[in-house]
Amino acid sequence: MAASPLMIEARGVQKWYPNGFHALRGVDLSVSRGEVVVIMGPSGSGKSTFIRTFNALEDFQEGTITIDGIALSNDLRNIDAIRCDTGMVFQQFNLFPHLTVLENLSLAPVVVRKRRRAEVEAQALGLLERVGIAEQAGKYPGQLSGGQQQRVAIARSLCMEPRILLFDEPTSALDPEMVGEVLEVMRALAADGMTMVVVTHEIGFAREVAHRVVLMSEGQIVEAAAPTTFFTNPQHERSRQFLAQIL
């Protein structure tokens, strides 16, 4: 492993929403390079809030978060640098509906990284090939199925060549028959050594792909363990309750 194997290091993160709600209550998490961490937990436990702090979509009041050696602070330049290096895939895809698939992919590299459009588009077509929808490049997002849209969203993140990918329930808005094709893409990414933090309730994915499963409850991490331990022999009462509900 490289000198600094830690890609994400969160220490004692505390977050209050403006209405006073204490959403994160001292969360610690370290993610190494190439590691796949799956975060589970009941609705409202703060999973989304937590991973959204990693690319500063949410701020936090206490604690520290370090992304690949850069501390997340209020310094805007740091935030921009970190956002370029961390891709995010949303539950609702959030593709840009007024741009074609190819334009969705090439927007950020052209606008942010100032790369040449032709070169970016070649790369984007390669990525679309990789997620299996190269033939849809000229279409608008509204003309694609949910599974195809989510694969475009993943390719869009990859186009910025991120070192970390964050997924917030990437398959929850999909019809059952489309979940598989998205998980397939995510599996391939994990196999390629991408560092991934995935909020999901897909047990199969967690079992096979995750290196570690983390259970959150009421803004805290209750248990973090290898998937085999987590699913067969959970240590905490809350984990058992949670697993009883979803298994």
Partner: protein
């Protein structure tokens, strides 16, 4: 997989009953029940009677000499005759730009659509233009050289439409993105042509009038109020309190007062509020009032558009590393403006009609010109002819705006499938 499951059926064409004949459609739409039939007949009779009556008045009784004798006045007011070549040049340039843009749009259909070079709507538009060019100058009894000029200008427009449509495909799509820039450029050039400067002799605003002044006022306010509206709408959602408050103050101040009071107010106090050179005379002061008036309403339209863009769009853009201005410019604003487009164009249409209020502060735009003409003892009692002409002129301008925006809406709407 079991042998008992029925095979999947291939699609087949719709039965003839689904594709109604127009006669069947007519019967179903108008005479489905006896009551429908009675209502339809009564309405048709009323429409017919009104139509015949109007026809009789317009072509038998009405005396159009009042219009025919004053075409120049209605068109450009008292713009000095020796300088009018500048306006002709401007009209010709506008025709060239229109024809070229129109053709280029058709030769570059959207990436996800096929698009035809000569769609039905275009053929209708061309037929209408050709008819107007052939009939109107003669009906207005324009001198023959002027009639010829109008023919030439219309021909120029149509030929460029054809040429740009046929060979516009050779222009790369990347250059096409600069097409919209031609219009502001033409506008600035047109301003120089109209007002003078840069070596062209000056024609003071007090000599502009008629349709020229109306269009000038409306287009000036439209072009400038648009950026004002966007900036103020963004300001209203800004996190800087001072910016937010001043935006709210501006919007509420303007929307709380009738335009006519603002126009009178502007004549008196704008001279103190704007830098000296900006509002030198009554015409420019009125133009600025119209601009700020329209800007406040546009800001509200744009704000509604901004509010309709899901927050996820901004989050996605930001998480890709776009800065706030970049995210606004490339992701949020295009969608917000598209949503705000119908309201915006509605605003422009009412602005165009609001220019008639300028006659109340003594400007000789269309209505002001009309009133001077009607006050002329020679044309006493010809009010109906004059007002009808005015109504038709405004109606044409508004229809053009409306049709243009509808076409733009269809072209921008990603979920609209080609037909």
């Amino acid at each position: 997989m079991t042998s008992s499951s029925p095979p999947l059926l291939p699609p087949r064409p719709a039965p003839p009953s689904a594709r109604r004949s127009w006669r069947g459609a007519l019967r179903q739409e108008l005479f489905a029940t006896p009551l429908d039939g009675v209502i339809s007949v009564l309405l048709l009779a009323a429409l017919l009677a009104a139509g015949v009556g109007f026809w009789h008045w317009a072509f038998r009784q009405a005396q159009w000499a009042v219009i025919q004798a004053n075409t120049t006045l209605f068109a450009v007011g008292r713009y000095p005759l020796p300088q009018q070549w500048r306006l002709w040049l401007l009209v010709a340039l506008a025709a060239v730009t229109t024809g070229a843009s129109w053709g280029l749009l058709r030769s570059h259909p959207r990436a996800d659509r096929s698009g035809t070079l000569w769609p039905f709507n275009d053929l209708v538009a061309i037929a209408v233009l050709a008819f107007l060019a052939a009939w109107l100058p003669a009906a207005l009894k324009l001198p023959v050289p002027l009639q010829l000029r109008w023919w030439a200008i219309t021909a120029l427009l149509l030929v460029l439409r054809g040429v740009a449509g046929q060979w516009g495909g050779l222009v790369p799509r990347r250059l096409l993105r600069f097409l919209p820039l031609f219009w502001p450029a033409l506008y600035l050039f047109g301003m120089v042509l109209i007002a003078g400067g840069l070596g062209v002799p000056r024609v003071p605003p007090s000599e502009w009038g008629g349709l020229l002044l109306t269009l000038l006022m409306a287009s000036f306010a439209i072009l400038l109020s648009f950026p004002i509206g966007i900036v103020v709408a963004l300001g209203r959602r800004s996190s800087l309190p001072l910016l937010r408050w001043s935006s709210v103050l501006y919007i509420e101040f303007i929307r709380g007062a009738p335009l006519i009071t603002l126009l009178f107010l502007g004549q008196n106090i704008l001279g103190y509020m704007l830098p000296g050179g900006w509002a030198p005379d009554r015409v420019w002061r009125a133009a600025w009032v119209l601009t700020f008036f329209c800007g406040a309403y546009l800001a509200e339209a744009v704000r509604a558009g901004l509010a309709a863009v899901p927050v996820g769009q901004l989050e996605a853009a930001r998480s890709l590393g776009l800065s706030m201005p970049q995210a606004l410019r490339h992701v949020v604003l295009p969608q917000a403006l598209q949503i705000a487009l119908p309201a915006t164009v509605g605003q422009f249409i009412s602005l165009l009609q609001d220019t008639t209020l300028l006659s109340l502060i003594g400007l000789l735009e269309l209505l002001g010109t009309a009133r001077t003409v009607m006050a002329n003892p020679e044309f006493l009692g010809k009010n109906a002819e004059v007002y009808l002409t005015l109504a038709v002129l405004f109606w044409c301008c508004c229809a053009a705006l409306g049709l243009g925006s509808r076409a733009l809406e269809l072209r921008l709407n990603p979920s609209h499938s080609p037909t």
